[in-house]
Symmetry: C2
Subunit: 368 residues, 2 copies
């Protein structure tokens, strides 16, 4: 038995709707994963995350390996149980955070030497260690360690990155010891389309249960992300889930769904939520603005979330002005419900064969 | 029809169990009111507050009159609706906060001159204005403005305070314009038992629908609070609810229930919760302590709250160490459930005629 199964049931253009079944539950695709960096989706309880319709949650290996440490999580029965979430989870490899958060990261074929951003302790992460830690954390889907370059990147450096990432994929397969976790490979290649293709083809040969496009959303902008996805996606096995890492705003997500991506993750809904920026199908609502001071309407009139069913813009604005955490909770909750509805409507549109019309309608609302 | 009705159904010693019925719902007494200073119980949604078993929530007039202003709340249909709580609410008069938070408070028979702690704006609060604002906010139970003295206080000053508070009670009755709100009077008198008695007798003559003992929990300590309550409570009409303002830790609450108090409010459960200090029937648990790093047991084994049903001490400790808000939410939620259970068990014990045994048992767990 493979750790996960994946089946596409409908297509509309290149967009596809399907189902991923994991040991902790099934997830309809395309799906958006809320980010629970430190084993919690910020400002929300797992019950609230469940109630907005999220199917699978992402956690960051880098953060959890530093604090509290993978052993504590393993001894507590794994991340799904320990975090109180209970449903499907995915952990990244820690590679991206090593570069973005830690000090003095030094990469070699062996792995990455870095210092903890918490206490400065010298640490080393190899592809094998990243798998070992993820085996301990116990998520349903785990990611290989990759060599993630910034943007812009020199061609020679990107070449090195895809060669190393491919080598690390093979080493990850060898190190992986749990049959109930699906290991995904990660395509690198920065904005060089030929290198993206080379990376994708090499990984596809390894017959992994899923593939991610990594090294995007690092400052290159929506247009280049779309070019990278367009150049890569058709080389990834059709029968495996495709995951675009770290993307993104609603329009970028819908664009990538149009190209055949099945899975997404991004901090945008929760980070914006904590800042009082709410997503709606009519565009962005900044609830802190004084125009909402006496507004009795909810953030979004026809939204079915707890926030929109019970609270006015006036009250939510007051919470932000008064520095009350409930404001961050309510807008984060609404934003995750918005993303869940965005994906629900995308699946419905794909199944109705009307995806492109749906994508254009939502893009229009966001002025794109 | 009076705004509220109150009926005692059982007594055990001087402790009593009963029911307050308000326009927004019924509340079993003795009851503990979570504090929602700015119209929100910190870190929790109204649904979470409801689910822990809270019956009535307190909000602070001082905070809400400054921000967002009583008119916005009035136009939104009142505090119960605007805050999403929906159930019974009580607002204090603002007097206590004027003294504890604002700058340059100057009191006279007319009222209090002070400066907003938010923007320094010069403001004036009279007994009539405090009622007018509370009429706008629309809580089910409202409080007269009182002249609250600190501890220790000179006798001449306390004498002035009870005389002024009695005068303000009469002016509040005249100013009060809503038949669906119950106005409570407030007994002052600091730690002078004869002045407490004089204040209580004077207020009792006004035949208000409820009475509070104010000016306690201002630094005098549990023993003196108990003396003040003991000297005052029997002079307050038996058929009206009695409310001990700003109290307190579990043992102080149970002591006051023993003396015949029906209502309490305090920030202790939520403030301690945000600090990672959890109340249990075996005493205080400080979840941030390293002893809990790998502890798989919940905060309290036989607690039925969302926190204890789904999360280990290990995970909650991690949330605090990682600076994640969910930690504050989970312990605040547990603490409010603890207080709700504390009062449920108190009511059961009163109805079984075994209140004193219950009070002693809980006091023992807290080392008292």
């Amino acid at each position: 038995m493979p750790a996960i199964t994946f089946k596409v049931d409908s297509v509309s253009g290149s967009a596809r709707a399907g189902l991923v079944v994991t040991p902790h539950g099934a997830v309809e695709t395309p799906t958006f994963m809320p980010v629970g960096t430190q084993g919690t989706v910020k400002c929300l309880t797992p019950l609230q995350v469940r109630e907005v319709g999220s199917g699978i949650v992402l956690a960051n290996t880098y953060h959890l390996m530093l604090r509290p440490g993978a052993e504590i999580v393993a001894n507590a029965g794994g991340l799904q149980k320990w975090s109180g979430w209970g449903g499907p989870m995915l952990t990244d490899s820690g590679g991206y955070q090593v570069f973005s958060l830690s000090e003095l990261a030094e990469i070699s074929d062996e792995g990455v030497r870095f210092r903890s951003h918490i206490d400065g302790k010298a640490l080393f992460l190899s592809p094998e260690e990243a798998i070992k830690i993820q085996n301990q954390l116990g998520a349903d889907i785990i990611m290989q360690l990759d060599d993630c370059v910034g943007y812009p990147a020199e061609r020679y450096r990107v070449n090195e990155s895809i060669r190393r990432t491919a080598d690390w994929a093979r080493r990850s397969i060898d190190a992986h010891s749990r049959k109930d976790q699906a290991l995904f490979g990660i395509v690198q290649g920065s904005t060089y389309k030929d290198l993206r293709r080379e990376s994708a083809l090499g990984l596809a040969d390894l017959d992994l249960p899923g593939y991610a496009i990594g090294g995007v959303s690092v400052g290159e902008g929506s247009a280049l992300i779309r070019e990278v996805v367009g150049a890569t996606v058709e080389l990834l096995p059709e029968e495996k889930p495709r995951y675009l890492m770290g993307v993104g705003p609603p329009v970028d997500v819908l664009d990538a769904v149009a190209d055949g991506i099945d899975m997404f993750d991004c901090v945008v809904p929760t980070r914006n939520g904590r800042n009082g920026w709410a997503f709606t199908f009519k565009g962005l609502v900044k609830v802190k603005n004084s125009v909402h001071a006496a507004a009795e309407d909810p953030i979004e009139e026809d939204c079915d979330c707890y926030t929109c069913r019970g609270f006015s813009r006036s009250y939510i604005r007051h919470l932000f002005k008064a520095g009350e955490m409930l404001g961050m909770t309510l807008v984060s909750l609404h934003n995750l419900r918005f993303y869940a509805r965005l994906m629900e409507k995308a699946r419905d549109a794909i199944r109705a064969g009307e995806y492109e019309a749906y994508r254009r309608e939502v893009s229009g609302a966001f002025g794109k």
